[in-house]
């Protein structure tokens, strides 16, 4: 079933998420009050998108190590207050909240927007065609090349009776070099096949989308709500 958020133009979805993250990130570190409202607004967007909760939770938690490191460093680098608590605790919490909310919004976007739509939106937003082509090829070939590498590893394991030991680095280097060589050769074959189908430097697209009033309205209203929260809290 398609929900309201998925019906929006992918450009509107990307711009809404980028605007929301940028506004949240611009909140001064000393002010923590608006984060509760940001969280409510973000959850409202998640509800509208019907993104799967377990996926979002896992993605947000995956951001924890870097966020905890950055937040912890910021909290403790100001030293301790006379009461014994870190002086930079507000700044540290601010970084944590910003990071987690940004991770939630980004995960929501990617959970509800297929890569093909994101690529189309990037092209419509005037990103270079080469960027689109490289992204499209990564989407198509990364798993294929990973499987090819796994086969190479299996073949090596079948022929290796001793631990790799001090030869580990040259052996891995040769395997990686082999994978690069194979991918280079594959690129030539793929390019010839793409040319035979009429490839002219950009992916053909069947999308016939128009940026409608509701897309603009959703973008403006969402950005305005985040901005209002940010400005009234400052």
């Amino acid at each position: 079933m398609t929900h309201f958020f998925q019906l929006l133009d992918p450009r509107a979805r990307i711009l809404t998420v980028v605007a929301a993250i940028a506004i949240i990130a611009s909140t001064p570190p000393a002010i923590l009050k608006p984060f509760a409202i940001y969280a409510l607004l973000a959850l409202l967007l998640v509800f509208l998108s019907r993104a799967p909760g377990i996926y979002l939770t896992l993605r947000v938690l995956a951001a924890s190590p870097f966020l905890l490191l950055a937040g912890g460093l910021l909290a403790f680098q100001h030293g301790l207050t006379p009461e014994g608590t870190p002086a930079g605790v507000s700044a540290g919490l601010s970084v944590l909240f910003k990071g987690y909310l940004a991770a939630l919004l980004l995960a929501m976007l990617t959970a509800t927007t297929p890569l093909s739509e994101l690529l189309w939106a990037l092209r419509a937003l005037k990103a270079p065609p080469a960027l689109n082509t490289i992204l499209g090829m990564m989407y198509r070939y990364t798993s294929l090349l990973s499987e090819e590498y796994a086969r190479m590893e299996r073949a090596r394991d079948c022929r290796t009776v001793r631990p790799l030991g001090r030869h580990r680095i040259p052996i891995y280097g040769h395997q990686f070099g082999n994978l690069i060589l194979r991918s280079w050769d594959r690129a030539d074959r793929v390019h010839a096949a793409m040319l035979s189908r009429g490839f002219n430097g950009a992916w053909p697209s069947m999308e016939q989308r128009q940026f409608q009033f509701r897309d603009a309205a959703f973008l403006m209203v969402t950005a305005a709500m985040f901005l209002l929260t940010r400005l009234t809290a400052a």
């Binding site: 998420v17 490191l69 490289i134 991918s183």
Partner: protein, 194 residues
């Protein structure tokens, strides 16, 4: 090494977006379709390799291959790295959309530096390959430490950058092994590119 959104102030992220998008257009101009397809495949192979983790002391590291990208793609390594970072942001939420420019600038600088070192031809090939792999990792680590120290996070990330010396050395050694293999099997791939 991927900076998440909300950590570095927006002004920095905005400036880095300006730099990285300009570099993306400038270094990707007049690119032939054949080259784009090769770069796409190189990005896919590099990303597949970067998913493999190596034990290093009590932890594990994965390769970035920014130096190798500089060797094989020259200045086009920047569009490759930009695309790879955007791909990881979209699919795995490594990094973020607002901090994408910062991440691309950090890692792209490492690759461009490696490309410049590879082109010089002053050192023997193996020494250059090591330096490319080493600088490809250490340069982004140092840039991240610099950005964090300039934006009020103190000196903690300089310590993190020092920890990356081990990963940079491993990457340098593996780059030497990869380059040696390519030199024996397909030396044309290693021809210095602009």
């Amino acid at each position: 090494m991927h900076i998440a959104d909300g950590i570095i102030p927006n002004v920095w992220c905005g400036a880095a977006h300006g730099i990285s998008w300009s570099a993306l257009y400038w270094l990707g101009r007049r690119i032939e379709t054949e080259e784009v397809v090769r770069l796409g495949m190189l990005a896919s192979a590099s990303f597949a390799i970067s998913l493999i983790h190596f034990p290093l002391g009590a932890t594990s590291v994965h390769l970035g291959l920014y130096g190798l990208a500089g060797i094989l793609a020259g200045k086009r390594a920047f569009p490759v790295i930009f695309a790879a970072l955007l791909f990881q942001t979209i699919l795995f939420q490594h990094g973020g959309l607002v901090s994408l420019g910062l991440n691309a600038t950090n890692m792209g600088t490492g690759a461009l530096l490696a490309a410049a070192v590879w082109r010089t031809g002053l050192l023997p090939q193996r020494a250059r390959a090591f330096l490319c792999g080493f600088l490809g990792v250490l340069t982004p680590a140092l840039l991240i430490a610099l950005e964090f120290s300039l934006t009020g996070y103190g000196k903690g990330f300089w310590f993190m950058a020092a920890l990356y010396l081990g990963a940079a050395t491993l990457e340098g050694l593996l780059t030497v092994a990869i380059v040696s293999f390519l030199q024996r099997t397909r030396p044309a791939l290693l021809a210095a590119r602009p």
